[in-house]
Symmetry: C2
Subunit: 207 residues, 2 copies
């Protein structure tokens, strides 16, 4: 219980806590363990940082506009340095990349169940967190610094990718996030804007 004689404003207290937190000192602002379900941004960023694969859905050119979900590997950064943006390594030999170049509308879906931390809770139970990021799937200019960041992020998480066949012409794509659907507890999806999601942890990195 806090002593009433110590006059510390909540903002100063927060600053002190941030300075003392191991996360801040180690440069790893994102939680390693599952965050409090009340913290929607932390939970969503944790799901993205911890997972290595998800389902990327596009509008199928081959199937008359049906949605088409494909299992893909991804990364949002090197361990502890995720930026929240999922980057993919795709080839147009696969429908997903072809679809995206025609119509970028996409969604990327992750489950906490894949991490093994839901225990005996059912994958569809709302307390086993699930996340859908919806937006546009865009090709990243291979000569850009963003592509360099994404390659490092992908190859760090997916060691074999750097040796995948050159003649398949794998290219880097990213999801430009426009909407976030997160369920991590009872009571429906948590309100979470792309800005809240992307800015999460930045206040720690700045310190």
């Amino acid at each position: 219980m806090e002593s009433k004689s110590v006059a510390v404003s909540s903002s100063v207290l927060l600053l002190l806590l941030l300075l003392l937190a191991p996360a801040a000192t180690s440069g790893r602002p994102l939680a390693a363990g599952k965050p409090d379900p009340d913290d929607a941004a932390a939970t969503a960023r944790w799901l993205v940082a911890q997972n290595s694969w998800g389902v990327l859905s596009t509008i199928s050119s081959d199937l008359g506009g049906s949605p088409f979900g494909n299992v893909v590997s991804f990364s949002d950064g090197e361990p502890g340095e995720g930026c929240g943006i999922p980057y993919f390594y795709l080839t147009t030999l696969d429908p997903t990349a072809r679809d995206a170049l025609t119509d970028g509308r996409s969604s990327f879906t992750l489950s906490e169940f894949a991490l093994g931390s839901c225990g005996k809770i059912d994958p569809e139970n709302p307390t086993c967190a699930k996340l859908t990021l919806t937006g546009k799937l865009k090709l990243v200019d291979s000569q850009s610094s963003e592509a360099e960041f994404a390659r490092d992020a992908l190859f760090a998480k997916h060691r074999e990718m750097k040796d995948w066949p050159k003649n398949h012409n794998f290219q880097i794509f990213k999801l430009e996030i426009e909407d976030i659907f997160l369920i991590d507890w009872f009571g429906g999806p948590k309100p979470l804007s792309p800005a809240q999601y992307l800015n999460h942890g930045k206040e720690l990195s700045v310190i």
Copy 2:
């Protein structure tokens, strides 16, 4: 090595093998272990029988027609008796069921990686099998014998479902499969028709 003096036609040999197979005698025609990647129907049915969850993608009414992938639990039958059709237990409190009632076009995506049998192989590596079933997501008449089969199938695989809140009005949906995308080895998707997929194992059950 087969003796040349034994004149057994390949069809008779196959019949003998089927009669002798433990799978046939136990009424469990589907493989428990990963099938040969050359057998596309067996591999696809194995992925559906073994997995308990996947990503169901619809055309989002809320998001202007974008694809929307949602993590859902499913079942295609009681253990060893899967029919290949994925059944779901959904509520219109969730966008997926609402989307389906407006536009049934859907896809359902599964990964072998979720089963833990890909070892150190990357989830995007073609030898870690992945399956996308595309078609129409349909509400099943709750009074039908199909609904009874589906409820038994779902509740057997997902024990907690039977206790989910009655006032959420969970209903049974199924995917009517129109197209199958299976990658289980190098060389692109395996040709596999819905009929080949759905009929797989029936020749064993008949014996």
